[in-house]
Each structure stands twice: as C-alpha cells, then as structure tokens.
C-alpha cells in the first residue's frame, strides 16, 4: 500500500509539475478556427442560423455549440465545406432554419417610398442609400439578399427579386443524365 502510494505520488508530482509548467510556458492565444469558419459562411448576415450574424455563428460552431447545417444561404455547398474543414459528417440543411432559395436582391419601389430610413437601419451591409424624407435606393451590387429590410418598411415598398442571368454571369449547367428516358 505504501509502495503503491509512493510510486504513484512520484509519478504524479513529476507529471503534474511538468504539465503545469508546460501549460504556462507553451501557451498560445487566439482561435484561428473561427476565422476559417467565418471565411466559409456567405456573409449574408441574415440571422437565419439563429445567431445575430455570420461571425457569431462561426464562433458557436468552433465551440461545438452549433451544428454545421444551420445556414440556409450557404446551402449544401457551405455545409460540405464546413464538414470538410472540421472533419465532421455532412448533414442535409436543417429544415428548422429554413430552405435554400435562389439568390436575390432587394428592390425599392421608388414611387411608394416615404423616406422613413427604417430600411437603412435594418440593412447590415449599408447597401441602401438615401436620406430622411428622400426616396431610397438599393445598391444592387452590395445587397446580400438577406431580406432584413423587407419587414421594417411601413409601406411595404420593398420586394425581393431573384437575380437574372446574363451572358456574363451565365454558367454551364450540370449535364442532365437522361437515364429515365432510356429505361
């Protein structure tokens, strides 16, 4: 019994001291993981994930407090990337947090706009220009399509419109496999 205690005590003191020493000597700061996760998120800042923006969601993922499948604008693509980065299993987009939609921009019906600035306050990326009592306009290139400006408008003059394809933005489509026809 005494030998047992002695032997283990010897080990414990050595290991404990070494670990304590190492913990202080070799300490490093910061968590680069959050940045990496944030770089994957689409920065729509829409809050559908249940967090007040992309960065807070990234922080929650890094801490292991949130699943990776809660960002609808990022879509399956984004989930795949997160799964890759974190070595987790891919999961389909959680339906609780919404569904994937085509990318769109906000359009303000300039005839109806009363210049209340409520939408300006709502927009997380300052994509709406205008001043009080003047008509407002969305800078389409900067709009992330988060829809946050839609609800606050007292006269319902903001609508979301899906972005149209042009020769410049056109992409080759996924080759359609016509298996069914052959059967």
């Amino acid at each position: 019994m005494i030998e047992a205690l002695l032997v283990m005590a010897l080990g414990a003191v050595l290991l404990g001291a070494a670990l304590g020493y190492a913990a202080v000597r070799f300490r490093v700061e910061g968590d680069p993981l959050v940045e990496k996760i944030d770089a994957i998120l689409p920065q729509t800042q829409c809050g559908q994930c249940g967090f007040p923006g992309c960065k807070p969601y990234a922080t929650a993922i890094a801490k292991g407090e949130a699943e990776i499948n809660q960002c609808p604008p990022g879509g399956e693509e984004g989930i795949h990337k997160l799964a890759d980065l974190l070595g987790r299993e891919f999961k389909p987009l959680s339906a609780e947090h919404g569904i994937e939609k085509p990318k769109s921009v906000a359009i303000i019906d300039e005839q109806a706009c009363i210049g209340c600035t409520l939408c300006i306050q709502a927009c997380p990326v300052d994509a709406i220009v205008g001043a009080a009592k003047q008509m407002h306009t969305v800078v389409a290139a900067q709009c992330t399509g988060c829809e946050l400006c839609v609800a606050p408008c007292p006269v319902d003059c903001i609508r979301m419109e899906a972005i149209q394809e042009t020769v410049d933005t056109w992409k080759w489509k996924y080759p359609v496999i016509k298996l069914r026809q052959a059967a």
Partner: protein, 233 residues
C-alpha cells in the same frame, strides 16, 4: 471545471503554477491510488479464494473429485518451465491420491502451435499411465471454426471432440498413432480446422509422454518442493 490559468500569471508564476498543478495532481493520485490499493488489499483474500475455486473447478473437470481423497492444493509441487510441455513459466502440478496411493497427476500444458497462437491445456493423467481427461483453459482459435476444442462451444454436445482422448494411453493408442487422422493417426479432426485439432492432439500426446517418463519421481517428491528435471550429463 476551473478556468484556464490567467495570462497575467504568465511571467511571474511559472514556478508557482507548476507547483499548484503538481500538488493537485498529487492529491488526486493519492486519493484514487489509495482507493484502489485499499480495495485491492481488502479484496485480495477473496480474490485469491475465487481464483483457487476457479482452478479447482477446472481440475474437477478433468479429474472427478470422488476419485481421490487428499487435499490437492496442499499436495502440489512447483514445476519450473518445461519446454516439452510447451510451458515457459512456472506452474503447479497437483497430485491426487486415494488412501495414500497415487491416483493421478494434474498438470498444465500448452500447445504453442494453434491456429491463432497458444492453446492452454489442463491434463489429468492416471497413475496407470492413462490420460484421464484434457480440457482447454485458454485459446484464441477462430470462433465457430477452431473453438470446438472447448467442449462448451462444440456443437456435438453428446460427445464433444475433446473427450475422445479420455481414458486412452500409449498401450491402446501407440505413441506414433497419437496424431490426427489427417496425419495418419487415430484421432478425428474437424475438417476445415485441422490445425487446432492437430495442436491439441500433439500437445496432449507430449504431456502424456512427459508424465510417463517422470511419473515416479513426481509422486515421490515432497509436497511444495520444486521439480528439477534430470540434470543431463
């Protein structure tokens, strides 16, 4: 859980912190080692007893208790490692007697050449030179294939494979026939798993041969003494 050590302590307190973690580690270790060692000490006698009971049970399987009347545990000798038994560590050898007359020897043996390594055996050999019974004490043979050498796993419940050695000696099965049929011997094997059968058969043959050779000396040695093989000149 307490939080990680604050950064402010970083420069000043390396030594202090080492000391602190060492102390906590020491405390935990002492408490839990004491708990463990205490339990170990407290249960040691009971554990020893149940280990003994286990041995006895195994011995009982190869040698019916009714056939002897002495205290096997008392009437045992120590066997140094015996290559011819496949043993590489010290074991005990028990001697059964009835009314003082030698009845049987019970010893451990091993077959090193099983399909997946060593097969441990316990063998009882009668004073008349017959093998009374053999059982497997430990093996790693493939479940469902080679593990029929353990009668509990043998699908033939009526006459498990390993019982075919019972009550045979070199007088009924000559030494050179103490092999599996596939090797030209007398004993059955399970086709598809000859290796296990061969290993057990050969090992039991070797154990029998070794015992016959040393039978008289083994019975003659005083209890708790140590068996020394004939020193080869």
């Amino acid at each position: 859980m307490s939080e990680p050590i604050e950064v402010t302590q970083r420069e000043s307190g390396v030594f202090r912190i080492s000391l602190r973690t060492a102390t906590i580690m020491l405390a935990f270790t002492l408490v839990f080692t004491a708990l463990m060692a205490g339990t170990y000490k407290a249960t040691a006698p009971m554990v020893a007893a149940s280990t003994l009971a286990e041995k006895l049970r195994l011995i009982g399987e190869v040698l019916p208790a009714a056939t002897y009347d002495n205290d096997l545990m008392a009437d045992a000798i120590t066997l140094p490692p015996q290559a011819s038994l496949g043993l590489d560590e010290e074991t005990r050898l028990w001697r059964a007697r009835k009314a003082g007359a030698p009845v049987a020897l019970v010893l451990e043996a091993a077959a090193p050449d099983g399909y997946s390594g060593r097969i441990g055996l316990i063998v009882a050999i009668g004073a008349d030179g017959k093998l009374i019974a053999v059982r497997v004490t430990a093996h790693k043979e493939t479940p469902g294939l080679g593990d029929y050498i353990n009668p509990k796993k043998d699908r033939n419940k009526a006459r498990p494979w390993i019982t075919q050695f019972s009550n045979l000696g070199f007088d009924t099965v000559p030494r050179e026939k103490w092999r599996v049929k596939k090797d030209g011997g007398r004993f059955d094997q399970m086709s598809g798993a000859t290796i296990s059968a061969r290993a057990v058969t050969n090992a039991s043959g070797r154990a029998l041969a070794w015992t016959l050779e040393n039978r008289d000396k083994l019975f003659a040695l005083p209890a708790n003494s140590r068996f020394e093989a004939r020193s080869t000149p």
